[in-house]
């Protein structure tokens, strides 16, 4: 029966894709790049978490969030708060008027650690908070919006406003948040210096590992009935509703999942880059992350990773040589990916390369229905107002 193949999580095509990506990230890049470049790749990969979440939310669920930076930021800040507390031991901060609290608090005449910072002394709490706090936040937004059938453009703009609010709050409450500078000068994790090359390697591999965990979760969702329901909803939401499903619950779920991914990415970012700042929470980075997803192909979870890597790599090299032209290139990319390649890299791959690859593998078989669905869909979401 041809369904047997579908039943397993990774049919051959996908298995190949996962294996190639794993080979690239685990073997090829670490061997061919110096630690500076590898650390950069690690930083890009943290955005891939967000793009991956967007594939599920936007590509599959038809929910475009322009505020994913909020969740990336929440995860990143949670991690940064833990590291900052560790870096602010009374010995390290002896010159402050109140030793033992983060430096920026001291500058703002705060003499006691605020209550919401306290739990971040615990690594376990922090790790849980990284996933749970953003998920709860996403759940609240999701319930408020999707239960009332707010979607499409309205949802996009409201998430944008949420991003704006959070940015202003973080910047305004600098005594508690580090303000516009963010939380900087993070040093150790449980006594282990996170600034060394060794730590950078370790975090890179941790990041890759976590990315694969998220990729597998995403793949599981995609292959489950829930994945098909999302495709169905995007196309004919009423039909799904009149098949006895509470459509909003599925949207809430996928939005929470995407947000949790983004938050994990944020935490990985803090570990690898060594600081967190409100610039990631705002509207501009949130929209940029949407374009990473679009470049990769909004329906392809592996595409999200490649899209992120390609755009960021281009950004880095391009802006090293022609900084002033970078915005033109970025703008053109946005327009091109929307107008000419709505399925992004994954679409191009499926169109031009996929059958060659299959030939190489000596495989002769009709594409699985699922793969066809991916090729054929223009990702044209149905937006209801």
């Amino acid at each position: 029966m041809s369904y047997d193949g579908l039943r397993s999580l990774l049919p051959k095509n996908d298995l190949l894709g996962f294996a190639v990506l794993a080979l690239l990230l685990v073997v090829v890049l670490p061997l061919s790049l110096d630690i500076f470049r590898l650390n950069l790749v690690g930083k890009y990969l943290t955005y891939a978490f967000v793009a991956l979440g967007l594939v599920l939310c936007w590509g599959y669920g038809g929910i475009l969030s322009l505020g994913q930076g909020v969740f990336f930021g929440l995860g990143g800040y949670a991690m940064a708060m833990f590291l900052k507390l560790e870096a602010s031991s009374p010995e390290n901060t002896a010159i402050q008027s109140t030793p033992g609290i983060p430096d920026f608090m001291d500058w703002n005449q705060i003499t006691e650690l605020p209550w919401f910072w306290e739990p971040f002394n615990s690594l376990i709490f922090t790790v849980l908070a990284i996933v749970i706090i953003p998920s709860i936040f996403a759940y609240i937004i999701g319930v408020a919006m999707f239960k009332r059938r707010v979607g499409g453009v309205y949802f996009a703009i409201i998430t944008q406003a949420v991003a704006a609010i959070l940015t202003i709050l973080i910047i305004g409450q600098q005594g508690y948040t580090g303000g516009v500078n963010g939380i900087t000068d993070l040093r150790t994790l449980k006594g282990w210096d996170i600034r060394t090359d060794e730590a950078k390697y370790a975090f890179y591999f941790l990041c890759v590992f976590m990315l694969f965990v998220c990729l597998f979760i995403a793949q599981y969702v995609r292959k489950s009935k829930l994945g098909r329901l999302l495709v169905a909803m995007r196309e004919m939401e009423d039909r799904v509703r009149f098949s006895g499903y509470d459509v909003s619950n599925f949207k809430i779920f996928v939005f929470c999942l995407g947000s949790a991914f983004a938050a994990i990415g944020g935490a990985m970012f803090t570990l690898q880059v060594g600081f967190m700042s409100p610039t990631f929470v705002g509207i501009v980075p949130s929209i940029e992350m949407v374009i990473f997803c679009a470049v990769g192909g909004r329906l392809s979870i592996l595409g999200a990773v490649y899209g992120t890597l390609v755009v960021n790599w281009a950004k880095t090299t391009f802006s090293e040589s022609f900084p002033e032209l970078w915005l033109f290139a970025m703008g053109a990319l946005f327009i091109a990916v929307v107008m000419a390649f709505p399925n992004g890299l994954a679409g191009l791959y499926n169109k031009y390369a996929a059958h060659h690859v299959e030939k190489l593998l000596g495989k002769k078989k009709g594409q699985s229905p699922d793969a066809k669905a991916t090729v054929g869909t223009q990702g044209v979401a149905h937006e209801r107002q």
Binding site: S2, Y3, L6, R7, Y220, V221, S224, K225, L226, R228, L229, V231, A232, E235, M236, D238, R239, V240, R241, F242, S243, G244, Y245, D246, V247, N249, F250, F253, P369, K372, A373, G376, T377
Partner: protein, 249 residues
């Protein structure tokens, strides 16, 4: 009258809905018996589709009550109404073009309807059997692996009917099921309808009076959101008010 509600599968009483003052359905009452095939006819704009929308929860009523097996539907959400046993087919075929026929039917299979249920859903023998059973019934056994948007218009209509059948609803509502079909498809559909209407009540909206006469137990004629006439197909055809509305002016 209301005392005998319990005998009916569906009891609609005093149903009114207004859109910015315009009363699309106005103080409407009717009752559908168990296993009855009720056809609703009426000129364009009579409020036929709106009645179906109201029953299945797509539109919220302004006033009145809809009781399905003594359960009030007007306060329920769409998916709850479906789960209670009401199935509805839309006027234009609404199926999932990106999915295969198999997947279309599978999604409609009434299991794993919660988020985590859907995540844990397994394609077991029960599902496979039921899908192939329904596919047989709707003449699509050979097309299970095709993408749904490659089907013909008539096949899409059947697929949607199949998606309802797989849920085994007690009340089935069909909005113009043969519209746009070829003659042979129409014949097949009539046969299909006769088969599937055993053991369940059906409300059909239809224009084609010949088709109506063929299938209807009872016909309700709507005009400007109100009931103009009700009875057997013969009675209704002979009703002077109906003739006036359809032919008059």
């Amino acid at each position: 009258m209301s005392a005998s509600n319990t005998d009916f599968v569906l009891a609609v009483e005093g149903l009114t809905v207004s859109f910015d003052g315009f009363k699309a359905v106005n103080d409407l009452s009717f009752y559908v018996d168990k296993d009855e095939i009720r056809v609703i006819v009426g000129p364009n704009g009579a409020g036929k589709t709106t009645v179906l929308d109201l029953i299945c929860g797509r539109t919220k009523s302004t006033e009145g009550s809809i009781k399905f097996r003594n359960k009030e539907l007007t306060k329920m959400k769409e998916h709850q109404i479906v789960r209670a046993g009401v199935g509805r087919k839309f006027q234009t075929p609404s199926i999932y073009g990106d999915l295969t026929v198999f997947e279309n039917l599978e999604i409609s299979f009434p299991r794993g309807r919660s988020v985590f249920g859907a995540l844990a859903f397994k394609r077991d023998a029960e599902v496979l059997n039921r899908v192939s059973e329904v596919a047989d019934m709707i003449f699509l056994s050979d097309l299970l692996e095709s993408r749904a948007d490659l089907l013909s218009h008539g096949q899409k209509q059947w697929l949607e009917i199949g998606m309802l059948l797989i849920q085994d609803p007690e009340l089935l509502m069909l909005d113009e099921p043969v519209a746009g079909m070829s003659v042979s498809e129409r014949r097949q559909t009539a046969e299909l309808l006769r088969r599937i209407t055993k053991d369940r009540s059906v409300i059909v909206i239809e224009h084609d009076m010949q088709f109506v006469a063929e299938i209807a137990d009872k016909v309700t004629v709507l005009h400007q959101g109100k009931i103009l006439a009700e009875g057997s197909a013969e009675e209704v055809k002979a009703d002077p008010k109906v003739i006036e509305v359809y032919l008059g002016h």
